[in-house]
């Protein structure tokens, strides 16, 4: 068993850590305060080429393995969650099905520009009445000659209102439940496709999250992203583990950012004559945080390694996501306590980490869903 990163991975980690420190960290607070898409940072950062992280070198990507990818996700989230959300959409969820199933013409229009940062993309699953319960999706796709007609409303779509193209989950037959789901490519400018209201959010500010309306949107046949009809859920399974472990990695990025703030304060804040880091209760907090973060990272990288080796990783990915997220929520909580009242001054960072951590509880599956799913698998095996 080798618990260390390879030399190349260590080097990559150093470079991306320095890059995030230089480019992203200084702008994190502004991104959160303004709650606008940070176009300037987007242009500067995407120039470096990281949006092609997961795709083959032949098309300009980096062909990064899952372990290296997790290193990236952790660091980008450490810099700014609001920015990271946009980056990961282009890197994975918003482009994957286009990459997998899109025609060359579609790739030219969508995938390659998304990899360069020229286009912003997203995926649309959630609706007002369906989050965890994908089978309750009401957005429909009806075949009409050589076109598909999409009707419905999507909700909570990251950068939906500004996306240049989107991967939309729609059902060909609601009575089929999960077995009727498919992915469709819808591009900005298509008649009937329009942004709805934008949500004002507690955390992850810096992404434009909102509604997308599909009103008799007609798209060509080739915009069905799938080799066969009604296999959407199966295809989703191809990236589900990565999305979960990625969420866990982002949780560690946020936790690390908060933890570092906690260290600074514990060392310099004086009470009753000495730095508060001298008191047992404060020391205990750091012991707990560090232990759980270490355990989280081991789960994350072990799951990522299994994915890299093409070993089964479904349960491990869910474990990593859940454990790392719960740890992150604990860490951002404890750090706000260590900071005392200063924790909720908007001027300082702990309150931003505290607010940002919440989204981790839903992306990639709520913990209630994950526990039920894992329990079912585990008990089933026994």
């Amino acid at each position: 068993m080798n618990f260390a990163f390879t030399e190349e991975q260590e080097f990559f980690k150093k470079i991306i850590t320095d890059t995030v420190d230089k480019m992203v960290v200084p702008r994190a607070r502004e991104i959160d305060e303004k709650d606008e898409f940070p176009w300037e940072l987007w242009k500067d950062f995407t120039k470096l080429g990281y949006l092609g992280l997961r795709y083959p070198e032949e098309i300009g990507g980096m062909n990064a393995d899952p372990v290296t990818a997790m290193i990236f996700y952790e660091q980008i989230a450490r810099g700014s969650v609001g920015f990271a959300q946009s980056v990961i959409m282009n890197i994975l969820m918003g482009t994957y099905f286009v990459y997998r199933f899109g025609s060359e013409a579609i790739k030219e229009r969508c995938l390659y520009p998304a990899m360069s940062g020229e286009k912003v993309t997203t995926m649309c699953f959630t609706e007002d009445q369906s989050g965890s319960d994908l089978a309750a999706t009401r957005t429909t796709a009806k075949k009409d000659g050589s076109e598909w007609v999409i009707n419905g409303t999507k909700m909570w779509i990251t950068n939906g209102p500004i996306a240049d193209f989107a991967t939309v989950l729609a059902t060909t037959d609601p009575s089929l439940g999960a077995k009727g789901l498919n992915f469709f490519l819808v591009e900005k400018g298509t008649p009937g496709f329009s942004p709805g209201q934008v949500l004002d959010k507690l955390g992850c500010r810096g992404t434009i999250t909102g509604e997308l309306v599909f009103d008799d949107v007609r798209i060509p046949e080739e915009n069905l992203l799938g080799a066969e009809l009604n296999k959407g859920i199966e295809y989703l399974g191809e990236i589900l583990d990565e999305v979960r472990v990625m969420t866990g990695a982002m949780a560690m990025g946020i936790a690390q950012a908060a933890y570092d703030e906690g260290l600074v304060y514990a060392r310099k804040r004086i009470a009753f004559g000495k730095p508060i880091g001298n008191y047992q209760l404060i020391r205990a907090k750091f012991a707990d945080m560090a232990t759980e973060m270490e355990a989280s990272r081991l789960l994350i990288y072990s799951a990522a390694w299994k994915m890299k080796e093409k070993l089964p990783s479904r349960i491990e990915a869910a474990m990593a996501k859940m454990f790392a997220t719960e740890t992150c929520c604990k860490v951002v909580d404890e750090v706000t306590r260590i900071w005392g009242a200063n924790a909720f001054a908007n001027e300082y960072n702990p309150q931003r980490h505290f607010r940002d951590a919440r989204f981790l509880l839903y992306g990639g599956g709520t913990h209630e869903i994950l526990k039920d799913f894992m329990g079912r698998l585990l008990i089933g095996k026994a």
Partner: protein, 256 residues
């Protein structure tokens, strides 16, 4: 134009440094970085390459971990990199470092050698000058601007209150000062290349230096810097406060 950049791996500026119990050693948290001033040197070499063509080679004297800074150089755009590695040199001083680097440089063809004005761990700033001496090259220090034309270089050197403009024939050594440029952030293509590149290692023997060479200086001990004294406020009316200050200076601190 062929350029060589001498780089050093130093402890990260944020690491904790403590004096060991013996007083003769330092305990440094193992976190490393590319020396800040060397980054400026590297960036300048890359800019000159972009303007005039040629190659950039990075040379580093250090332990096995120092490979990382050479990879960083490649990620930024350096064409080649080499590590001069030897355990025995862990305890060497500036003279030995300059000697080893000079021996390595004797095997190279170059028009320009760039390095940082000093390494931020020891702050001695002596190696570039010694290398210049060993190689018989002109040396311009603390440059904030460098232009090359017709086989000649014009450099601006930042001194106290003035800027010195110097013309020098090539080859020559230049040491970089802050303000020379803004080092670039590596593109992912550079990062990918750097991750895969095989960096050759060279030992001291390969350079023809005797293995039992003794350093010319020895560190006797390390002392912690004097803590800044606490500020003492003198209260009261001006006349009384003045009398009190005089009393402290005369009777307590005994400086008058």
């Amino acid at each position: 134009m062929n350029m060589i950049v001498l780089i050093k791996q130093v402890p990260d500026p944020e690491t904790l440094v403590e004096i060991a119990a013996s007083g003769k050693d330092l305990n440094i948290e193992p976190k490393f970085a590319l020396n800040l001033f060397d980054e400026f040197a590297l960036e300048e070499a890359l800019r000159l390459k972009e303007k005039h063509g040629g190659t950039v080679k990075a040379i580093c004297l250090g332990g096995p971990k120092a490979i990382e800074v050479l990879r960083t150089a490649v990620a930024m755009g350096a064409d080649e990199a080499v590590l001069i590695e030897d355990e025995s040199f862990a305890a060497s001083d500036g003279y030995d470092t300059a000697m080893a680097l000079s021996q390595a440089l004797k095997k190279e063809t170059f028009d320009i050698i760039l390095c940082g004005r000093q390494a931020i761990d020891r702050d001695r700033g002596e190696v570039p000058q010694m290398v210049a001496q060993f190689l018989g090259l002109p040396h311009i220090g603390v440059i904030v601007k460098l232009d090359v034309a017709n086989g000649k270089a014009t450099a601006e050197s930042a001194l106290e209150g003035v800027v010195e403009v110097i013309d020098v024939g090539l080859p020559a050594i230049f040491t970089a000062q802050k303000g020379l440029n803004e080092p670039r952030v590596p593109l992912i293509t550079g990062v990918m290349k750097a991750m895969k590149v095989q960096i050759p290692r060279v030992t001291i023997e390969d350079l023809g230096i005797a293995k039992d060479m003794q350093p010319k200086t020895t560190v006797l001990r390390y002392l912690p810097p004097k803590k800044r004294p606490a500020v003492q406020f003198i209260e009261g009316e001006p006349a009384q406060a003045a009398a009190e200050i005089v009393r402290i200076l005369a009777d307590v601190e005994r400086v008058i």
